[in-house]
Each structure stands twice: as C-alpha cells, then as structure tokens.
C-alpha cells in the first residue's frame, strides 16, 4: 500500500497527490511514469511522476478525472492509500544542454511537461513553457513552472486568461520570433499532432510524450505499441517520448478509443453503482 500524504484540488477535475513511494522517488528521472492501481479490483493505469523527493520518499502525481479509474482516484483524500504503485517506468527524457527549448503542455499534459521543464532549466537551457487549457480554471501548475525559472506563456481556448487561442498558435509565434533548438510536447493527441505539424516545416527537433493505453508497463503485453517511422515500438519501454515527426498520431488516437463503449459503461456505474452487473464467480 502506498500512502497518500496529501491530496489537493488544483483545477476542475484535476488533483495533485503526494504519495509515499520511496523506491520510485529514489530512481526517478524526468519523463518517467508509474503504473497505479487504486484498489484490488482496479485496472492498471499509467501516470506521469511530476516530481519526486529522495529525502522524503514522496512522489507527486497530477490526475485528471476523465473516466472511472481516474475519477475514483480523485475521490481519495490525504491518509488514504493507493493499492499499487510500480515504477519509475519508461525511458527518462533526454535532457541535455540544447540551447533554447520550448515545452508545450496542454491540459493535464502540463503535469507531464512540468518535470521536463525543470530538468531542462537545471541543465542550463533557456526554456519557454507554453501551457494551455480550455479556460482559466483549466490552467494548472503556472506558478510551479514559473518557479523553475522558465518563461511561461499561458493560453486559453476561450481567451479567459493569458493569450487567447491554442498553444500551437503561440508556438508558431514563438518559433517565428526566436531560434529554437528543441520542442517537447505533452497533452491530448490532437494537440501533439498539431505541434508536430507546426515544427515540421522548419525541421525543429520535436519530442512528443505519447499516452497509449497500457497494461503492465514493462514490455510484456505490447498493448502500448505505437508506430514511429513505420516501426512498431512499445511506448512503455521504448518511450514514452518519441520523435514527434515520425509518430503516426492518427493510429494512436484510434487505438486510444478501442475501449470507448466499455469505458462509458464503467464511468456511468460510478455515478450509479446499482446499475452494475452482478459478477459471476
């Protein structure tokens, strides 16, 4: 059992958890994730580790409640526990002194982007962090990002805060104004695809943190496979970060919808547990 030391709301449907997982904290590097099970009958879901403290053994997770498992998770409070936390999994981000780096985070993708921003700043890069949300309330981690020393540009789709429009608009403007050595993107698949499209014409190296459906997270099942440059890769062990210009985002988007109907049913059950089907022994 992995104790939740602190749980706080950070935006609509988004919660931050500080969880005791000393072994994960000790080995964690930016870009890695954990596989979590909320309870003994729960599914295994991947969540990015946003921060880790070796001294306290705590890791930080940001969770957007979108379906049954993430919403159940977001019902947990300080003092509750997660049944399983395995990791840190995946390859760490390739952090180097690139020069100028732009890190784009959309929605809860900002939580995935945050540790990358921090690591890039620590490696001596000039880092421009572009974060977006549907409206003001959906913008998370702004002050934390600023505290890293990165330049932070916030955009909202509805213009209720920061620059109006999509993160990709701001990205295009940034690329036009300043030479950029590398771009990192984390967020919804359409956003990452759009980022890749913006950076491709000028050949700016672009890394996307992919979010396929996972089961074990150890390379055992192949469920997380993605197509990168015509080659099948297992995102949990070969990734989750890949060259965004080579990723088949349409395939990823389709595969992420594979269990759509099932997920809807489970999600509805969370509202009304009485509609649950009796299990056979």
């Amino acid at each position: 059992m992995y104790r939740i030391v602190q749980a706080t709301d950070v935006g609509p449907g988004v919660r931050r958890f500080s969880v005791e997982a000393p072994h994960v904290a000790r080995h964690y590097r930016a870009g890695q994730f954990v596989i979590v099970r909320v309870d003994p009958t729960g599914e295994r879901i991947p969540l990015t580790v946003a921060a880790a403290d070796t001294d306290t053994g705590l890791i930080a997770l940001y969770v957007q409640g979108i379906g049954k498992t993430t919403r159940r998770l977001n019902m947990l409070e300080s003092g509750d526990s997660l049944h399983d936390v395995a990791g840190p999994l995946g390859k760490p981000s390739e952090i180097e002194h690139y020069g100028t780096a732009v890190v784009v985070g959309g929605g809860v993708g900002t939580a995935i982007a945050y540790p990358v921003v921090k690591a890039l700043v620590d490696a001596g890069n000039r880092v421009i962090s572009i974060i977006g949300g549907r409206s003001r309330d959906f913008v998370i981690l702004e002050s934390e990002l600023e505290a890293t020393g990165a330049e932070v540009i916030v955009c909202t789709d509805d213009g209720s805060y920061g620059r109006p429009g999509f993160v990709t608009d701001t990205l295009a403007d940034t690329l036009a104004g300043t030479p950029v050595d590398i771009v990192f993107a984390a967020g919804p698949v359409p956003m990452m695809k759009a980022v890749a499209a913006v950076t491709k014409p000028d050949g700016v190296r672009t890394i996307a943190s992919l979010n396929p459906i996972m089961v074990d997270g150890t390379g055992m099942c192949g469920g997380c496979r993605v197509d990168v440059g015509g080659k099948t890769q297992f995102a949990c062990v070969d990734g989750p970060e890949f060259d965004a210009h080579l990723v088949d985002f349409d395939l990823l988007a389709r595969r992420n919808q594979a269990y759509h109907d099932f997920e809807q049913v489970r999600n509805a059950e969370l509202e009304d547990p009485s509609c649950r089907v009796e299990s056979s022994p």
Binding site: T41, A86, V215, T232, V237, R254, Q257
Partner: protein, 485 residues
C-alpha cells in the same frame, strides 16, 4: 487388501480416463475442465503400474521424481506418503500434474507408452497434490536455524518460487521481487483458470510466505531497484524473470484494433480478471465474433479457448506447420477440438486488413513442409501463388516470446547468448557476474513450468555452494582439463 495383481493382470486393465466437464458446458465457463480422479480411480490407475525394476518413466521427468515409488504408495492408499515422495523433487506438484507436457516427458518414456496407454502419471501426481491440499495435510517443514544470509529472487514465476522455496528451507532470508501486482508469473497472468485454478497457485505462494519468504510486489528490477543495489544488499541474487517479450508477426496491419499479443489478451482476461463482469480492465468484446489465433503452442490453445469462453462465435487456430509439429500439450489440443475450435494448418499470415482502424480480414499464404530445421521439425515454406483470406474481428498472436530487455539492458556486464537470453553454466545457473544466478525461461527461452522449476532448484543448490565456499569459478570440466594438460 487382496493379493497384488500379476504383471499380466495389470496389463489387461484399461487406463482410467480423467473425468472432464462436458464440452458444451465448459465452452462457456472458466471453471476447471479436468475434474480430478476419485480415490478409487487413482488407486485403480496406480495399480496398472508395472513397478519396473528400471523405471523408464523417471528418465522422462526433468526433475527425476521417484515415480514408481509414489505410484506404488497411491496403489496402497498411502496418499500422504506418496506426497512426501513427490515433494522431494517437485515443489509444485499440483501445478505440474496439470500443465506438464506428460506425453513428451514421464508418460512418453513409460514402458506402457509403446502400447499407447502409459500410466496417467500427471493425473496421479495431481491427485496426490490435491488430496494433501484439500485435506490440509501440507507438511509444515521444520524451520532450520537462520543462517544470517539473505538472497534476492527476481521474478515470481515457477523458477523464482522454486528457488525461494529451497533457500528459505535452508534457513536463509529470501525476498522475491516481482514487477506485477500479483506473484506467480505465467501461472497467474498466462495460463487460464480453466486449466490451472489460481487458488492453487495462491496456496503455493501462501505456503512460501508461511515459511518466511517475503514478496515485494510492484518491484520492477532495473527500474524500482537496480541489480547493483540488490547485490550490495543481498548475499546472492537469482534472476528468474521469464521470457516476457511478445513477438509480433511483422506483417502490415498488425497495429489495428483487434490484434492482440497472447500476453495482452490473456493478461487482460486472467490477471486483470476481465472474465468477471465487474472488472475494471476492458477486453475487446468478442461476443458472436470471429477470432483467429496464430500459433500452435499451449499459449495459442489458451488464447483460443479463452476467446471461446468470452463468447466468440467462431474460433480458429492458424498454424504454419501441421498438427504433428504443434508444440501444445496433446490434451489441450483435444480439449480445444472438443470445444469446437477449428484448426487450419500450413497457413501463414501475410497481411491484416481492416476498416476504420478495426481488424476485419487476414490474408494467408499456404505453406508446405520442406527440409527439417535446426530443431528437427520440417520447415514450412510458401507454396507459390496459393493464397487465401479469412474474415476475423480479433486476431491473437501466439508465436512465442523473447527475452524482455527491461532488466538486461541495465546490466551490460551480464553475459548473454546470441538469442539474448542470459548465458549460464547449465548445471549451476551461475552467470558471468559473481553472486548472480539465473534460470527458467530467461535462460532457455520459452520452455516449461517443470524446467523452470528445476532450474530454480539447481540454482538454489548452487547458491548454497557459493555461500559455503565463496568460490565462484567452477572447477574446469573434464574435457577442458584434458585439453589444458
């Protein structure tokens, strides 16, 4: 008891069939297919044994169980004593009795195999193990004095469990590190409930826990802990991480929705319990659908029969050789057939095609058998121009697993074979790193439960030797010493 039967009388008895759940009923149920022998049946079957002076059956058992002895005890009705005999060589008899490919092992070498009616050694072993388990007669081993030594076992499949079992009984402290949330390896995530009830695996694991083995779950060695750390903390390390990297076909369309590796399909259904209605882990709905499974081993049979139980309308196994070359246990093939699974031999997929990203069709190349390959099986080769197509909503790829690089890639000094498996001294499980032992599928490539278990036990003995002597280098083998002389 009546006078013992003569050899001639014994030869006249018929092999007792294992009672089975009815084929129609079981095709819709995850309950175990084989129902187990009754005491009477077991005794009758045991009485058929000729008590050979040189029991050939033992030659066929990879761990050398004293088969004639335990069978004689069953015939006498001394089941608990029979269990003790088995337990000397096999720590997991309830499992091996169910899943060993007996026809290639003990039953294959039994003298009565020539007459197509070998003693049902597997069924008897299972009977004995189940008897002591359900009667609660499990021997509680006397705990030896603690040695103060600590051993780390990586992976909780049969290799790791066997290694842990032997080492704890020698008084060492043993911690098993397992990447998943449940121990058992393929026994829990791969082999389905209807063939190996999970309760049996859990009983074995609970037994080890009672003896003091510590299980650390969610411990992905190479990530959560490094091998280096374990070596610093423990006196020896055993690696039994299995061969858990699924092979795919390498044909176009393999990433369509509806194409699963057998590992993924079986893990979703078994480990994540998708066969129960209230599990949170989804599996693609196969109700009324057409399923194809590529492969001819136990994994293929398990995937096909699982799909059937999940409600599939039509399940076919597509294998590129013929029935004779199929590596699956014969009993599983028979069961699969009886349940209504179709087999197409000498076909190999060339393309998977779909609509809207969902699998719909499989293009197949017809094959014929050519010259034998290095394994001695005749190699399938395409018949030019002979192609065909089948419709399919789900395809499960069960063509084997390679060594998972997750841990190995973090330990460059650990010597590997050209197949990527860990190179060891076979008799001792010693690797190229002092203090590190390995066994099971990560050494042999995908093999069997009993071989993995045997390797775990050999390594345990070798760990003892290393802890006693502190000598890592093995004495040179005779050939080498002759050469160097």
């Amino acid at each position: 008891m009546s006078a013992p039967l003569t050899k001639k009388e014994r030869m006249k008895l018929d092999r007792i069939d294992m009672p089975e759940r009815d084929a129609v009923e079981r095709a819709g149920s995850f309950e175990e297919v084989n129902l187990g022998l009754t005491a009477k049946m077991a005794q009758l079957e045991a009485m058929r044994c000729l008590e050979c002076k040189r029991p050939k059956c033992i030659d066929g058992c990879p761990v050398g169980i004293q088969i004639d002895e335990f069978i004689r005890l069953v015939a006498e009705g001394s089941v608990a004593e029979a269990a003790e005999v088995i337990q000397r060589d096999n720590l997991l008899p309830a499992i091996c009795g169910r899943v060993c490919p007996q026809e290639n092992q003990c039953e294959g070498t039994c003298v009565l195999a020539k007459k197509e009616r070998p003693i049902a050694i597997g069924h008897l072993e299972r009977y004995v193990a189940d008897y002591v388990r359900t009667e609660g007669l499990h021997q509680v081993a006397e705990m030896p004095r603690p040695t103060g030594k600590a051993i780390a076992v990586i992976g909780s499949g049969p290799a790791g469990l066997a290694c842990a079992g032997d080492l704890i009984q020698s008084g060492h402290a043993v911690t098993v590190f397992e990447a998943l949330h449940e121990p058992g390896g393929v026994l829990v995530y791969g082999i389905p409930e209807f063939r190996l009830p999970k309760e049996i695996v859990q009983t074995e694991i609970a037994g080890l826990e009672t003896l003091g083995v510590v299980f650390e779950m969610n411990a992905v060695v190479g990530r959560t802990h490094t091998l280096e750390e374990l070596l610093a903390e423990f006196d020896a390390v055993f690696i039994g991480v299995g061969a858990g990297l699924p092979r795919f076909l390498g044909v176009p369309g393999e990433n369509l929705i509806g194409v699963y590796s057998a590992n993924e399909f079986l893990t979703r259904v078994n480990l994540m319990k998708a066969y129960l209605n209230d599990a949170d882990t989804p599996v693609l709905d196969v109700t009324g659908k057409r399923i194809v499974v590529f492969g001819g081993g136990n994994t293929a049979m398990d995937a096909a029969r699982t799909a059937l139980r999940m409600g599939a309308a039509d399940v076919r196994i597509l294998y590129r050789r013929t029935e004779a070359e199929m590596p699956a246990r014969r009993e599983e093939v028979r069961h699969a057939r009886e349940e209504g699974i179709a087999f197409d031999f000498l076909v190999s997929p060339t393309q998977l095609s779909g609509e809207d990203g969902l699998l719909r069709r499989v293009s197949l190349q017809r094959m014929e058998l050519g010259e034998p390959d290095e394994t001695g099986r005749r190699r399938p080769q395409p018949i030019e121009g002979a192609t065909t197509e089948v419709e399919a909503d789900l395809a499960v790829v069960a063509i084997g697993n390679g060594p998972n690089p997750l841990l190995l890639s973090t330990v460059p000094d650990l010597e590997r074979t050209k197949w990527g498996t860990i190179a060891v001294d076979e008799a001792t499980g010693r690797t190229s790193i002092p203090g590190v032992f390995a066994g099971g599928d990560i050494v042999t490539g995908g093999a069997t439960v009993i071989l993995a278990m045997g390797a775990g036990r050999r390594a345990a003995a070798s760990v003892e030797n290393w802890l006693d002597t502190g000598v890592w280098e093995l004495p040179p083998s005779e050939e080498e010493s002759v050469e160097s002389a």
